[in-house]
């Protein structure tokens, strides 16, 4: 047996800090940290000096003061007597509203366009290519302003909806696009609406129970049970029966135009044109990117997978659901989530059409009124940062769950 000779132990020499790759990293990091701290100290010192020179302080107390301005769309009760903090909250809710609407619509549009782009139909494929390229290569701001211009310039005035032979008509007799905003019907909760809600909840629970039972039975016996039709029946039938028995407790309040006096709509809910413009533009713009993601995802599943599934005797529907989609989704979902993130950040372009999002309330009127640029922008940035960290957190969890388990 030989004993491995220990390398001659030398004491630590200072020159190793520069020459030895084991220690050099340490030196570089210390220098980098020192430079960074120096930079931060420089910036903070300037900040303190400048604030002192301007007679300002760093204080979030202004958030409790009376805001004193009106907001044209508030999801929670708000008057101009409320505080700046509440105005900011109204803005935050408006941002989240348009972001949520946009994400859902963009997904629908994007999936449709992505699938249609792969269609064998030449005309449809070309049409979708034109859609995708047009939206991907033109700035979003332009689309927002353009959609807003279409909504406010080429939609009829409320007066056009008047009379028997009106020039304009409501979409499906329900939705009226006017240059004063879009009027949509709104449900009115009558007596017994609560029962209806309970019935709906119960049938959702029953539908989930049926699906679980069906899967268990298939795993035990190998015989599939009809799921789709039964689920639909459980969801719809009891609801309809109770709806009729209770004598229609929920009615739709359909917007109608006043026939005399100033032409305006009564009933329903008025959705601001700025919200609709932002929503449509964001959904179509992001939809174009999602279409490309969906297309790439479907193309990424090799044809052999389809052929193998057919060889196993799976029908096309099941092939899609059990073989192709699970693999395609692995490719599609991560970039899809980051598109949601982009959409959420892009809602800050609301300022171009005067939609009262958080950038317009906290980072706009509040900031200009109080002169608290530093605090307002800090809070604004923090809000966006938190939203995006939450979304990327979801993304990371998903990525970990679907990561290929390699041996």
């Amino acid at each position: 047996m030989t004993i491995a000779a220990e390398p001659p132990r030398q004491g630590f020499r200072p020159s190793q800090l520069l020459q030895d790759s084991r220690y050099r990293g340490l030196t570089i990091q210390v220098i980098a940290l020192a430079l960074l701290l120096a930079l931060i100290a420089f910036l903070v010192r300037n900040l303190v000096v400048n604030l002192a020179a301007l007679g300002k302080d760093f204080d979030f107390g202004f958030l409790g003061n009376r805001a004193g301005y009106d907001i044209n769309q508030a999801l929670i009760p708000y008057t101009n007597n409320d505080s700046h903090a509440r105005a900011a909250l109204v803005g935050i809710l408006n941002t989240l509203l348009v972001a949520a609407l946009g994400c859902v619509t963009a997904t629908v549009v994007g999936v449709l366009a992505g699938v249609l782009r792969l269609s064998k139909n030449w005309l449809v494929g070309r049409l979708m290519t034109v859609y995708v390229e047009a939206f991907r290569n033109v700035p979003l701001l332009l689309w927002i302003v353009l959609v807003y211009a279409v909504l406010s310039e080429s939609t009829p005035a409320p007066a056009a909806f008047r009379g028997e032979d009106a020039q304009a008509s409501r979409l499906f007799g329900l939705i009226a696009f006017t240059n004063r905003g879009t009027y949509i019907p709104w449900p009115v909760w009558g007596e017994g609406a609560g029962v209806l809600g309970i019935v709906l909840l119960l049938s959702i629970a029953a539908a989930i129970g049926w699906r679980i039972y069906a899967r268990r039975r298939q795993e035990a016996t190998g015989r599939p049970l009809p799921v789709l039709w039964v689920t639909l029946a459980i969801l719809v039938l009891p609801f309809l029966v109770v709806f009729v028995l209770l004598g229609a407790p929920v009615t739709l309040d359909v917007p109608t135009v006043r026939e005399t006096g100033i032409a305006r709509f009564d009933g329903g809910v008025n959705v601001l044109n700025s919200l609709v413009a932002l929503w449509i533009a964001l959904a179509l713009y992001t939809g174009a990117f999602i279409a490309e993601i969906v297309r790439a995802g479907i193309l990424s599943v090799s044809k052999g997978q389809t052929e193998a599934a057919f060889a196993l005797g799976l029908r096309p529907g099941r092939t899609m659901r059990l073989v192709i989609l699970p693999q395609a989704l692995r490719v599609i979902v991560p970039p899809l989530i980051s598109q949601y993130l982009n959409l959420t950040k892009n809602t800050s372009l609301a300022v171009a059409v005067g939609y009262a999002d958080v950038r317009a309330t906290l980072g706009g009127v509040t900031m200009n009124q109080t002169g608290r640029e530093l605090e307002s922008i800090l809070l604004l940035g923090l809000f966006y940062l938190i939203v995006s960290l939450i979304i990327s957190g979801v993304l990371n969890v998903y990525n970990q769950r679907i990561a290929l388990k390699e041996r």
């Binding site: 990293g25 980098a32 300037n46 020179a53 290569n137 700035p139 332009l142 302003v145 310039e153 980072g363």
Partner: protein, 438 residues
């Protein structure tokens, strides 16, 4: 043929039949239509739907655009001509606004006598990037690339030529210091000297030297203020400077994020996540109102420069993430092979890792560039005159009040051409650099 076989065959044809043309339904346009548009019930429905959508979209727009009036001095004149030509109230575009105001849309408020300068600067830029984009050109052209930034700044902003020359001199001094000190005292000391010497020079010598030179030899162009920049000139200036500056920064950030040094990688992570987590509008707001708080009191530099810096910092975080993806996609064996060859960190990165990683990330990088170029429209929100804001300005004049679509369509078309060209170039580059299927 064997005898046995020839006896069993009763009849054998000894001439070929002439080929028969395929059936009518299986050839030419009919076949194409049948296969691509009407192959099944679903397909037929889709085709009809598509035609309907096309009809809806184009039935008003095409005649409107086709009837467009190109020669008029104002929108009311446009309407008069339209009424004469097509009758009262027919919809017709008024393209005359683009003829009348294209100069503003392209150059903003740039002085009319100096309009040759921005295009010349663009030409210089294109010449300067040529030797980088195409490796077969003579290497001597790289000197032009090195000189181009100073030349472009001088062309765009004007003023005495000695300002940019003196700044360039600083870089020359830095290079000299590196050569001399690195030979004498090793690369680390050389790097310190290469940073220290130019910084000292810029602080203490640059301004007096510029002033003295300008007094002795007053060569220069008419100075142009940043507030006169506008239209597509502004977009292109911000976009191209952002693109060229953010790529190297993005590469460094990506390397830092993947670095094994704890502090450096964590700093890079925080930087990238914070920048990416907050929308560009908020960063532009920071550049507009907040930056002055963080600089020594009295410093007040140009809003355009601030925007360029902000856009660069913003875009570099995105590019860093794209390049990080490329670095991660590279097989580990490449890194190990570089180590096995005994290459140092920078050598390994420069010779082995980055060329491959950058190639993988080309589509992503170009996508970020396209995004950056489109995002230049956001500067309209902090009151710079980009094409969008320029069109509102034109709309606000008495001659062209009430004109909408023509300006938007023009701006959108120009953006489309630029971005579409970029994306096609990236696809072409991707194919050209593809080595795996040879």
């Amino acid at each position: 043929m064997s005898d046995l076989h020839s006896q069993t065959v009763a009849y054998s044809r000894d001439t070929m039949l002439p080929p028969v043309p395929p059936p009518r339904r299986e050839a030419g346009a009919v076949r194409w239509l049948r296969e691509n548009l009407f192959s099944g019930p679903l397909n037929i429905i889709l085709t009809i739907l598509a035609i309907w959508v096309l009809w809806l979209a184009l039935r008003d727009v095409l005649p409107w655009a086709w009837r467009g009036i190109w020669n008029a001095g104002s929108i009311s004149e446009c309407r008069t001509i339209r009424d004469q030509l097509y009758g009262e109230g027919t919809s017709a575009a008024c393209w005359a606004v683009i003829r009348a105001r294209w100069q503003q849309l392209v150059f903003g408020f740039y002085p009319a006598s100096e309009l040759w300068r921005p295009p010349l600067a663009l030409v210089v830029f294109l010449l300067a990037v040529l030797p980088i984009l195409f490796a077969d050109l003579p290497r001597r052209l790289l000197w032009l690339t090195a000189a181009a930034p100073f030349l472009i700044v001088w062309l765009l902003w004007g003023g005495p030529i000695w300002g940019p020359v003196a700044v360039a001199l600083g870089f020359g001094l830095g290079w000299l210091a590196w050569r001399i000190v690195a030979r004498a005292g090793g690369p680390l000391l050389g790097a310190v000297a290469a940073i220290l010497v130019p910084v000292l020079y810029w602080i203490f010598v640059d301004a007096p030297l510029t002033a003295a030179l300008a007094r002795i030899l007053p060569i220069g162009l008419t100075p142009v203020r940043s507030s006169d920049f506008g239209g597509f000139t502004l977009s292109i200036v911000i976009g191209l400077s952002g693109i060229t500056l953010s790529l190297p920064l993005g590469i460094l950030l990506a390397l830092a994020r993947r670095s094994e040094m704890f502090i450096i990688s964590k700093v890079a992570v925080i930087y990238i996540e914070v920048i990416r987590g907050v929308p560009l509008i908020v960063w532009l707001l920071v550049a507009q109102v907040l930056l002055n708080y963080f600089l020594p009191s009295g410093t007040n530099f140009d809003i355009l420069l601030r925007v360029i810096i902000m856009v660069t910092l913003f875009s570099s975080a995105y590019i860093a993430e794209v390049i990080r993806g490329g670095l991660a996609a590279l097989p580990r064996g490449q890194y190990e092979a570089a180590d096995a060859l005994g290459l140092g960190y920078w050598q390994a990165m420069q010779l082995i890792v980055l060329p491959q990683a950058l190639k993988i990330s080309i589509p992503g990088i170009v996508n970020s560039f396209i995004g950056l170029f489109k995002d230049t429209t956001l500067v309209s929100i902090i009151s710079l005159f980009d094409p969008m804001r320029m069109s509102s300005t034109i709309r606000a004049t008495t001659e062209w009040g009430g004109i909408y679509w023509e300006l938007y369509i023009f701006v959108a078309a120009v953006f489309f051409v630029f971005c579409f060209a970029m994306s096609r170039y990236s696809m072409w580059l991707e194919q050209r650099l593809e080595r795996s299927h040879r």
